[in-house]
Amino acid sequence: MNWRVALIALAAVAAVALLAWLLQGGKPRVEQAEVFEAVELPTPTPAPEQRVILLFAGNDGMLHPELRSVPLPEQVHERIRVVMSELLAGPRSAPRLSPSIPYQASLEAVFVDQNGHAYVDLTAPPEPLTGSSTELMLAYSVVNSIILNCPEVSAVQILFGGHEVDTLTGHLDLSRPLVLNKRFIASS
């Protein structure tokens, strides 16, 4: 009888040990994955206010500048985010100027490579856009506004919904980064 009790006790001990091992995470005895804890970010000092040039569509189908003073961070990614957020908010001098991005878009991601090429990912238009004018206004308001306010950036490629696109309305080549193009900025 005693040996039976001893066996049951041994089984109970084994079960408890198994439970403890499982509660520990049940990992084999090799080096544990390092734990990546969130880094405590230092409280950012407010960026100094600077004037930015934003380009919006005018009634003449050209881009017109609007100047704003906004806190402009030093880091190029953050500057692009600030410029894009101001651009996406639309012009303050409406109805003289109209938004150059004719749908509710948001900036999803910003990549900047070591050659000074920026890649900005916008939400895709909910329905197809048309006209070369629509396409040129959208593209060059984004490209020119970023390049004019971020000297580190020499060219900008716009992605839509996380994808590279050949063209948006069937005219402009959007498959590569575009450089500053002042031809679509109104002269006066």
């Binding site: 066996l7 049951i8 089984a11 084994a14 198994l18 049940g26 990992k27 084999p28 090799v30 080096e31 544990q32 994955a33 390092e34 734990v35 990546f36 970010l41 569509a57 005018g58 009634n59 003449d60 189908g61 961070p73 990614h77 953050e78 985010r81 109209s98 999803e108 991601a109 910003v110 990549f111 900047v112 490579d113 070591q114 050659n115 090429h117 890649y119 990912d121 048309t130 006209g131 070369s132 004018s133 629509t134 206004m137 020499s154 490629q157 992605l159 996380g162 994808h163 590279e164 063209t167 069937g170 005219h171 402009l172 080549d173 590569r176 575009l178 450089v179 193009n181 031809r183 679509f184």
Partner: protein, 475 residues
């Protein structure tokens, strides 16, 4: 006794089952003599510990919203829920997206190997409970090849600029065909810049080879690999006589008639283009005006070809390719515009702008700075400059055609002059003749839309366009 056996069996099964479940939740990754256990989530694994194991610096940039991986000179940027990523400055598109995970970010094993390990020189080899990370890329990134040709008296220099250093071998595999074999990489032709040569018929990339098809009687004289920037130059000229007579070649099919004017009615098929408030479609307007323009030019003795003569869809590059194949005198793409601002009106004419021009200039300068080296370096610098001049000539001609057409549109129709502009339009890319895109008015403007649909106005437009083309061709 049986009861005890049962308890033992149940316990053994339990341990086995629970252990198996555990291996379903983790993978071991081994590198050199170290190993880590990494959680996995379905087909994805926690990725940051794996990169740390290799000694790569991997961190999240809150301002960019992207993860950056630094290893030696390599920089990779990727983002959660995005297929696109930057690998050493090149934009790439993966098949799947990284996801958020308790440790930061998780990717599939194929993403890990293709996009994060291969670019920094590693690959995965399966072992019983996971993977060993081994040095050596499994995927070599494709090599971007930008061809530039300069024709001289009896010879042609073909310069292939490469985006990275890669070993190549060049051989004339059969008369008239040169095979350039890239070591462990597939060539990807950059077709953004028009390529013109009377001695090179075509360039074709296939797997690890780039095939150069030469005009009859032309052969490879010599070739040189060059560094900084990485290039391969090929000297082409009259083929050396062969000991046995070469088989008589079939005559090359060319456009035997007069060189046509190629008119491209914009959009077509499912691509309706812009639409007026009353539902008139751009694809209908452009076709109607193109047909009238064809009749105007034909009545003046010109040969004319349309890129579509019905409601068919055509790829933008096919439209330009047709004009190149027919050796067109001019290429005119017709479009009707749309703006989000209804009051915007008027016609405008575009010709190509090479917005990468600054890069070209930089490449030419870099090449000039390399002159101190061999004479072939000196020669290729000259080629780049000559090529730039050839490009400038095509652009100059296109600008003259644009001015002629826009001038006639203004004079005859009294439209609001929106002028001549330059933009990198896809349909103008790669055209080897003077090429323009005319926006004949705004369908989004109600009164202009009405005018664009009237047969009489369409005829006036066609006559103005025809007169502009004649002004250019008849100079």
């Amino acid at each position: 006794m049986r009861r005890i056996q049962l308890i033992l069996i149940v316990l053994a099964l339990g341990v086995g089952l629970l252990s198996a479940q555990d291996y379903d939740r983790t993978f071991e990754f081994h590198f050199d003599d170290r190993a880590i256990v990494v959680p996995k989530f379905g087909p994805k694994v926690e990725v940051l510990p794996i990169l740390e194991l290799l000694g790569a610096e991997a961190k999240f940039s809150p301002s960019a919203g992207t993860y950056g991986v630094l290893y030696g000179e390599h920089v990779i940027q990727f983002a959660v829920d995005h297929k696109v990523l930057l690998v050493d400055g090149q934009l790439r598109e993966a098949r799947e997206v990284p996801s958020t995970s308790p440790g930061g970010v998780a990717v599939s094993l194929s993403y890990l190997e293709r996009w994060l390990l291969s670019p920094i020189g590693f690959h995965l080899e399966p072992i019983p409970r996971g993977y060993r990370i081994v040095r050596g890329s499994r995927f070599a990134d494709p090599v971007a090849v930008r061809p530039v040709a300069a024709d001289f008296g009896t010879t042609t220099t073909l310069v292939l600029s490469l985006n990275r250093e890669v070993a190549v071998d060049v051989e004339e595999t059969e008369p008239g065909t040169i095979t350039i074999r890239f070591d462990d990489a597939s060539p990807q032709l950059d077709r953004s810049v028009p390529f013109r040569s009377s001695r090179v018929r075509s360039l074709t990339s296939s797997d690890q080879d780039l095939l150069v098809s030469l005009a009859p009687g032309i052969g490879l004289i010599s070739w040189h690999p060059l560094e900084t920037p990485s290039r391969v130059t090929l000297e082409l000229g009259p083929a050396r006589p062969t000991p046995t007579p070469a088989p008589v070649r079939a005559p090359v099919e060319t456009n035997r008639g007069p060189r046509p004017v190629v008119i491209d009615p914009g959009h077509g098929g499912d691509d309706i283009g812009a639409q007026s408030p009353t539902g008139v479609m751009e694809k209908e307007v452009t076709l109607a005006v193109a047909r009238r323009l064809a009749r105007v030019l034909e009545s003046r003795g010109r040969a004319v070809r349309l890129t579509r003569d019905g409601d068919q869809g055509r790829a933008l590059t096919d439209r330009t390719a047709l004009a190149n194949r027919l050796d067109a005198t001019v290429f005119v793409s017709l479009h009707a515009n749309a703006s989000t601002v209804a009051s915007v009106a008027g016609a405008e004419t575009y010709y190509m702008s090479i917005d990468g021009a600054s890069d070209e200039a930089a490449a030419a300068t870099a090449a000039l700075e390399n002159r101190a080296g061999s004479s072939s370096n000196e020669r290729s610098s000259l080629d780049l400059i000559l090529w730039d001049l050839a490009q400038a000539e095509v652009l100059n001609e296109s600008s003259r055609l644009a001015l002629a057409v826009q001038g006639r549109l203004n004079a005859r129709l009294g439209l609001r002059d929106r002028g001549v502009k330059q933009a990198p339009f896809v349909v103008l890319t790669g055209a080897t003749m003077p090429a323009i895109l005319v926006e004949i008015g705004f369908l989004s403007n109600p009164s202009e839309a009405e005018r664009l649909t009237e047969p009489e106005s369409q005829q006036h437009l066609a006559e103005a366009l025809g007169a502009g083309i004649e002004d250019f061709l008849g100079r």
